[in-house]
Symmetry: C2
Subunit: 194 residues, 2 copies
């Protein structure tokens, strides 16, 4: 049976970077919203093609901090298709899925380790400026708007509430360290009690 890690995160928490480190250490296929969206739009349900796209993207994007122009479209059909793709991926590969709703979408799957990464607002503003190189007049407002978008999306499409600790096996403040957070997830995955 495939074993899955889902990672949801606050904007600017470094959750994507943590996920990439975990994927590399555990040699897991790394799926994020861009790949899921690409699959939903163009690649359909052919697992080999999606996996190849994910791997190509991972190798080229690994360790770049690009936050990408990707924003979640609030559209019922898009959500339904994304959910189908996520369930499809989770059936085929042990993998790591960086997506805000994956914990909900895979709720009835066994062997899913659900993780949420967060950080204090000041740390996230710093990361968004220094590492993501986002340039906005009001960077605090920009970060909070991104958070609000993720929260609205989750609350609209799921029957749960965004950012509730009971939805997750593990939540970590990434101020404790990006490598430390990645190591914790790696060890819990290897232990396999989920």
């Amino acid at each position: 049976m495939p074993k899955i890690i889902t990672i949801a995160r606050e904007y600017g928490s470094g959750g994507r970077l943590i996920a990439q480190k975990v994927a590399e250490k555990l040699q897991l296929v790394y799926y994020d919203n861009e790949v899921i969206d690409l699959a939903a739009k163009e690649l359909g349900f052919d697992i080999d093609t999606i996996r190849k796209a994910a791997e190509e993207k991972s190798s080229s994007f690994m360790y770049t901090m690009s936050s990408s122009a990707f924003t979640l479209p609030l559209n019922d059909q898009v959500f339904t298709t994304q959910s189908k793709i996520i369930r499809h991926l989770a059936k085929h590969d042990s993998c790591i899925i960086v997506n805000g709703c994956a914990d909900y979408v895979l709720e009835d799957y066994d062997d899913v380790l659900t993780v949420f990464i967060h950080a204090p607002l000041e740390s996230r503003i710093k990361r968004v400026k220094d590492e993501y190189k986002e340039n906005h007049d009001d960077i605090k407002r920009f970060v909070m708007k991104k958070d609000k978008g993720r929260s609205n999306y989750y609350n609209y499409y799921t029957t749960k509430k965004w950012g509730q600790l009971k939805n997750f096996d593990l939540t970590i403040n990434s101020d404790l360290g990006i490598d430390e957070a990645a190591d914790i997830i790696v060890k819990l995955f290897q232990k396999g009690n989920f």
Copy 2:
């Protein structure tokens, strides 16, 4: 400077046992509500006496699953005195404090690693029956009532809301393993990024 771990937990999650394991591994003084309450009532602010009481209690209670008859009294003066004791303890020793409000009480202290332990209701009911040996006609109701008590207490006495992941550096579902949870806390404490 003392380094502190605070542990809040859902009833029946095994949080107390995790805290005891962490205390033993890190050789930290272990303070729980009974000691804090004893200090508030009888021992006052004499740190050596409190520490001695904590150590005696730890050695005799270590690894017993006694959930004790302790219930939190909803009383302004008691809360204020408990908070003072907690702040007093945190100034003197690197220690682990098992108390639902300690994350809030020590909010303005540096070097505090805040942890919340939870588990699915079914797992907690099982632990409360099998390990705490609690015997009730409606055990589910009993567990939920205990949760409600902790939540009400926190929400009444603090300006925050009980069980919010943003209040904690780390939250863990103890179904991932009591030893695994303890190990994660030990490593994060040793790393010291908090």
